[in-house]
Symmetry: C2
Subunit: 398 residues, 2 copies
């Protein structure tokens, strides 16, 4: 049979991990701290029902929602991105600098189409979001891990590796990072934007969790410190509206939007008009602030329940990140526990997490005793039961 493209082999190791992430979603008896889904109880089902009824009652609007649309996205949604999501953060793009994509991850795919030739280097955090690594590897980029401390990327190592590897991108999730839940402080954000400008490197700022803050002060995006257009700001509607709508956006300068336009037409023409019209209306009707308070409250309670459960059930010597927001915490176990090896037994005990090792592109056994724990789509009761199961299992191995 015809042979596969070389890129399929280059992405195979990471694709194995991603397949595992998706395949584990099945068993209904399992309490899952894997995945990255937000609370289903926070999804705006009633609001979407109301909007659908209205939009689809006006014939012209209904037809527009079901017909082909603009490549860059529905104008009302791009305007809402500018007015409702970006202006309060001190960012003031024009709607022409916004492209609507089919879920936040698609931005990374399209940016790779535009910028990445095989062999190009992308600097990533250590650990980093493995799903994006799969994208980068599909484009045959070489991912190089940058040292991280308790606050995220270490700027000296970023600069050193920029000089050494001449990367195309520095990929960073600055706020409530995936997988660790850590947040990059303001001074480092500013410095990272400067490094992009100074060394002509694209800072790819992926910020999908940033609205889900439960404690502490909101920080400005890296993009706020960008004076040369080297920082590209990517975000998603999955956590603040609905993952199933598959909507995200990217904000960058017009010259790059023009190229992303080409890559988008050659990927899937444009993002669902229907989903965009409904999402735009969600913002236009002013539902967002109240909805955000609601989902923050739901997830805050879960974050707190998770912190309490970790402290209660996991063995002494366990380290964990206290995340000020988002959906994840990062747990480092004491002793010689191998979380990859332990996962099968955990699944037999009907509890699931993501083993830490896969989030480290540098390999070498890093993260072997770590795990990413998601608290987004589990109730406080499930968190207590599931973490007890996990704690009992881990203690039995010490």
């Amino acid at each position: 049979m015809p042979k596969f493209a070389q890129r399929m082999q280059d992405m195979e190791n990471t694709a194995v991990i991603i397949r595992g992430l998706f395949n584990a979603m099945g068993d209904p008896e399992t309490i899952s701290f894997g995945g990255g889904a937000p609370a289903k109880e926070g999804l705006p089902v009633d609001i979407v029902r109301e909007i659908c009824a209205d939009v689809l009652t006006e014939e012209k609007r209904g037809q527009e929602a079901l017909q082909y649309g603009a490549v860059l996205g529905v104008a009302d949604l791009r305007q809402a991105v500018c007015d409702v999501l970006l202006a309060p953060k001190g960012l003031s793009p024009s709607p022409d600098e916004i492209l609507i994509v089919n879920g936040g991850l698609e931005t990374m795919n399209l940016l790779c189409q535009v910028f990445i030739d095989p062999g190009d280097v992308i600097l990533v955090e250590s650990p980093t979001f493995v799903h994006c690594v799969e994208i980068f590897e599909m484009f045959q980029a070489k991912c190089i891990a940058v040292e991280c401390d308790d606050q995220g990327l270490v700027m000296e190592d970023v600069e050193r590796k920029i000089k050494e590897y001449h990367p195309k991108f520095v990929y960073v999730i600055p706020t409530f990072q995936n997988p660790t839940g850590k947040t990059l402080p303001v001074d480092r954000r500013k410095r990272l934007a400067e490094l992009g400008s100074q060394y002509d490197v694209i800072i790819l700022e992926d910020d999908p969790y940033q609205e889900l803050r439960y404690s502490g002060e909101a920080l400005p995006p890296i993009k706020c410190f960008d004076k040369t257009g080297h920082t590209v700001y990517a975000n998603s509607f999955s956590k603040i509206f609905s993952p199933g709508s598959r909507l995200g956006f990217v904000y960058t300068k017009k010259e790059w939007i023009a190229r992303l336009f080409d890559a988008k037409t050659a990927t899937n023409s444009h993002t669902s008009t229907f989903a965009q019209v409904i999402c735009a209306e969600f913002f236009k009707r002013g539902y967002f602030p109240e909805h955000l308070e609601k989902i923050r409250a739901i997830h805050r309670e879960r974050r707190d329940a998770m912190m309490a459960a970790i402290d209660k059930y996991l063995p002494e010597g366990t380290k964990r990140v206290f995340p000020d927001g988002g959906l994840f915490t990062w747990v480092e176990l004491p002793g010689n526990i191998d979380t990859t090896a332990l996962l099968k037994e955990a699944n037999e005990n009907h509890v699931h997490y993501i083993a830490g090792e896969g989030f480290f592109t540098e390999g070498g056994g890093k993260g072997k005793n770590c795990m990413r724990i998601s608290f987004g789509n589990v109730t406080p009761e499930q968190i207590d039961v599931g973490m007890k199961r996990l704690g009992d299992l881990i203690r039995s191995k010490l």
Copy 2:
């Protein structure tokens, strides 16, 4: 600033054409025979309203529609593809052999990710669908045109060029082809499937118009004659349900679905759950047969109006295809009319078409006196007015 990937340069010539296609969509005074949109009057606005109301009233179903979903797609929709769309054509896949994508074109993108290395050859029709050429060129494939006659691909030339170029794919739109409206006869379909098997080449059958038949007998897809799995069947819900939902599917063997799964996760994770749930319900509730009759009637009337208008307004010596279905006809003008040069003046006269030249990958001025005329999203009255405008302009140049 960081330089673009090589592929952006390789796709530039075709990207210019695609940008033109999308940018021309704007002016409301223009009667457009460009684009490939179906009749807005045929979009199932009322059905979708009913389904949305029901799905979003049940809390659990509403949450499922708005949450992350399976990479391969919503199970009910994959089942509907098998039962409602493929079984009546003599195809009997299992749902595991179906992947739901974000609009029909995404299949070509994902198949390129899986199979195309830079420099690989793809055989295409002459003329062919320029939007797919853009995709192929983004993947740095080399498109080689195969000779076509009044019935489409000439099998002798397909075989000759397979032997000469060892292509990865033969890309073909066998039914109511884009841009010509021609349909490949049964004997050639059978032969094409055999050639794929014999020479180990993927026959990429793109069949989005096939349900929209207004006259003549339905023909079996090429896939029906495939004994080795070399034919991949791609289709879209854009023409039979709604373009704005951005839904399509691909049917191929499980080993290739497994690779498409990887490419899909590294493109945009999965297709909108919300859109899929609604579309699945459209089929489950049995709306499809009646809806299909309705949209066939609408488009049949427009096809007939277009044929009459061409015969009435275009000058003697004009050749046109009588399409038994779909959305397009192909017009060849007499004399030395250059349709690319004429387009600006046509737009000033508030009528739009797509110039023929861009659909020929081989260049050399082929198609210079041709145009693709779409009759999908224009009323019979608009067809009459618009074709008179166009005919007057053309006659003034002879």
